[in-house]
Symmetry: C2
Subunit: 214 residues, 2 copies
DNA sequence: TACATTTGCTAACGGTGTTAGATTTTTTGT
DNA sequence: ACAAAAAATCTAACACCGTTAGCAAATGTA
């Protein structure tokens, strides 16, 4: 007759506990690496991020970092994913404020703008290397999911106004270009021109929505 | 009585010749450095450019490069300047095809687009770090002169249609954002979607011009 | 306790930008 | 023509970087 107590005393259970602790410790180490990396990026920028500094920060030797990430790019990719998750969340919140797709798109535009400046480090990473509308980037689920929020809203506008000549994908492309361009031109240097550029943003978005209608 | 021959035989003249040759050699070396650097960038991309490889290519030791350029950034800045000179030329040629500012701006837009893809290496450099509408970049005369071509044309459109509510600088900003955004989203990866994106470009520009009118 | 496994470290390889100091070449003044 | 001054050039180093092979120590298993 096997009781629960028997099981709890068994080697098998003890080994499970060890395995679980090890698993937990692995995850903690991974988290510590990411945390240290993020701190470095926040303090000194992406360009200053190095494996050696991460190792220093977590008080372990360099190869330990390589036990948790294949290479430096893998660490960066992790932040890339996280960045798109955050952006997606913000865009969805913005979108949910309204029911009409026109208003939703405007909210998405300003949400995107706000994210770019509130999370400069993330944005720089997300849009510096590859820009997320090309095929290669779309293979990353987090990127795709985020972009779908925008693309879907644009499609709704086009459908709403029954504009048969507007191609949803091309319009999506154009929208992303507009906003990204505006952000990328303003994200360097002090953000004191914020007020002026919000005007440009509104102007561009309203112009874009007009273009979707007719 | 001093003759020309006397002067040609004088120490002073000989020394002048030496100084001139040295000057010429300096310039040749500088040119060789830039040429070698450009070849490297063209073959392996900006990320692969290194002082050591340049030194190898010109068959001199590393510090020689530092005799002609303060550091690596100075070399890159040189290409930045040259890039904006080239872009300016191309935009001016495009502009000169028409007399009406509307048409001129459209030509500028496609000229900009063509430049970005024909001179990928230059464009990547010019718009990767700082984007040229912020103050710091505008301090470089070549950048400023190039942007002025665009800014001036937009101002002409606004003047032409007597639109008192359109701010020329903001519109310029918006235009640059649009075009740069569209380019930056397409410049990575194979350029097979060229046809589609020319449509987006035309669409964005015509929408923009409309926005300048009313 | 003896063995096996996991974990972490040292030390290296080849690369980068940059520079101090020695060396060789060229120019100058006698 | 020859020694001194100046210019050009190189060697070798410093302090970083990403990455990895191989060894030592801690830990788990029997």
């Amino acid at each position: 007759m096997l009781t629960v107590l028997d099981f709890l005393c068994s080697d098998r259970y003890i080994r499970m506990g060890i395995a679980e602790r090890k698993q937990r410790q692995r995850e903690e180490m991974r988290a510590a690496i990411l945390e240290a990396a993020w701190k470095l990026v926040h303090e000194e920028g992406w360009q200053a991020l190095s494996i050696r500094k991460i190792a220093d920060a977590i008080e372990y030797s360099v190869p330990v970092v390589y036990d948790h990430f294949e290479n430096k790019d893998a660490i960066i990719a992790e932040f890339n994913k996280k960045g798109f998750q955050l952006l997606r969340k913000q865009l969805q919140v913005a979108r949910a404020q309204f029911t009409e797709p026109d208003q939703q798109l405007e909210a998405i535009g300003t949400g995107y703008w706000d994210f770019a400046f509130a999370q400069k480090q993330y944005y720089q990473l997300m849009f510096s290397l590859g820009v997320p509308s090309c095929e290669s980037a779309r293979k990353i689920p987090e990127v795709s999911a985020c972009m779908d929020v925008i693309q879907h809203t644009i499609k709704q506008i086009i459908d709403k106004y029954r504009n048969r000549y507007a191609d949803p994908f091309l319009k999506f492309h154009a929208f992303l270009s507009m906003i990204h361009g505006l952000v990328s031109i303003n994200i360097i240097g002090p953000a004191n021109k914020d007020e002026l550029n919000r005007l440009v943003l509104k102007d561009l978005i309203s112009g874009f929505i007009k273009g979707c209608k007719a």
